[in-house]
Symmetry: C2
Subunit: 278 residues, 2 copies
């Protein structure tokens, strides 16, 4: 595994790989790797020859009152996990490599960025689109892999790639969960022991909502208010809890394939999750 | 020469070219080709093997009160000129190929888009950046060629390429002029005979301004007001007349290498030009 810090070296290494007709994949991450990331790497290794993983905590996708400074980091652990999982190139640029002085370009994917995390986190998705486009241009992978926990982010990237005709295939991979149902997230580390204990109830009560649907209740408002009440009893602070279709259109009456989206705060840590209605 | 209308066919043809290790260039145009465009094509043919010219009048770079409907078109003449000048692939997509339903992504290059045409034409440069990025992604040329008449546009594209790490070289080429000094532009065709007669005075009085500098006057305000007066006497309606440095910073006292930028209306036709201070 090569650990690389500059765009020039990255391009040089990739040029060598491409001369061997190697298929290249990219798994962009913000580090503090967990089994969710590792599932993406495994998938990427199955489908391509050269796996590039990037670790970059992207400042422009954090708002001024968000947790950029608190975002967990563990470079040593990340390197070990990459080594163990067949990563060929680990790209760890510093901030000035990605955003040199006088950087000024922004990509906005207008409609997909509205609602859900787009409303709660102003500017977040512009920051995501911009950095992902940059990473795409640096690596020009054949396939890039993203997790479905950040479902809106996945849609955003798919739409950006489609709209800008970026010649890269984007694949979304299923959410990986802890044994107790909590969706894997680097931010889980920031929970207190008590918070960590309560956190799986998010998924539990989202599942209860799906059960209500199976039992014949199809009014989104009823299902949502029922779940909210349960979560608030457990001291979850709800950022949003909504049911939308696959294209993020809000639905009033549920049908199969719609998705329940949640963002909550627990111990000041923001957790998101989603669950398909089946 | 292949004439191609779809992105898929374009990519297919380029794939074949690339398998022959062909160096690819792109000259993006809005058609109604003139000697300015042809100089770009010649340069591109000198430096690369496969020349792609695109013709697409990009609606999103025109404001609501601008001349999209009046923008001159001559597809037959354009095809002939491309044939005569060694174009390998002429890409003429229709609007829905470039902007399918639900298109929603915008690229903004914030600082470069301020001032000059960016102030006069709201949203113009977002439209330019977005369509040029799309064309870049479709063709992935080794080199793309742009004229210096649209100097701010050239800076914008250079900055976008730098900021987004797009792996393409951008080259700016000198302004080509009519014998009487008028900068070549597709819009010149929309001038009345009388307007066409007056138009070269724009360049003439800009040159006079440079002469003032040679004679010892270095105050931008004096030089600008002198030129403005002359132009207004000839019924030019001034949109802007400014002197800026190469990075578009406004200068009060001229020095060599600064650039005089003008945009004027004549017969309701908008003309732009620029001239380096030497």
């Amino acid at each position: 595994m090569k650990i690389i810090n500059t765009i020039d070296s990255l391009r040089y290494e990739l040029k060598l790989k491409r001369e061997q007709k190697s298929l290249v994949s990219l798994v962009p991450t913000m580090g503090f790797l967990h089994d969710g990331h590792i599932s993406l790497m495994k998938k990427a290794k199955e489908e391509t020859d050269t796996l590039v993983v990037s670790i970059f905590v992207n400042p422009i996708q954090f708002g001024p009152n968000e947790d950029l400074d608190r975002y967990p980091r563990d470079l040593e652990g990340d390197v070990k996990k990459c080594l163990e999982n067949g990563v060929d190139i680990l790209f760890i640029p510093n901030i000035s490599e990605i955003y040199p002085k006088n950087f000024q370009t922004v990509i906005s994917v207008k409609e997909v960025s509205k609602g859900l995390c787009g409303d709660s986190r102003v500017g977040h998705f512009d920051g995501v689109a911009t950095v992902v486009c940059k990473l795409f241009m640096m690596v020009l992978p054949d396939i890039a892999f993203f997790g479905k926990k950040d479902y809106q982010q996945l849609l955003l990237i798919e739409k950006m790639v489609e709209d800008l005709n970026i010649p890269i295939k984007v694949k979304g991979c299923e959410i990986v969960r802890e044994l107790d149902g909590l969706a894997m997230s680097s931010r889980n580390r920031n929970l207190t022991p008590k918070g960590r204990e309560i956190a799986p109830n998010l998924q539990k009560f989202m599942k209860m909502g799906v059960q209500l649907y199976s039992n014949g209740e199809n009014r989104a408002s009823i299902i949502i208010s029922t779940i909210k009440k349960e979560l608030e009893n457990l001291d979850f602070k709800i950022d949003y809890l909504e049911i939308r279709d696959k294209n993020l259109k809000i639905v009033e009456n549920l049908s199969q394939g719609d998705i329940m989206f949640a963002a909550v705060f627990l111990d000041n840590v923001r957790l998101i999750d989603n669950l398909e209605i089946f």
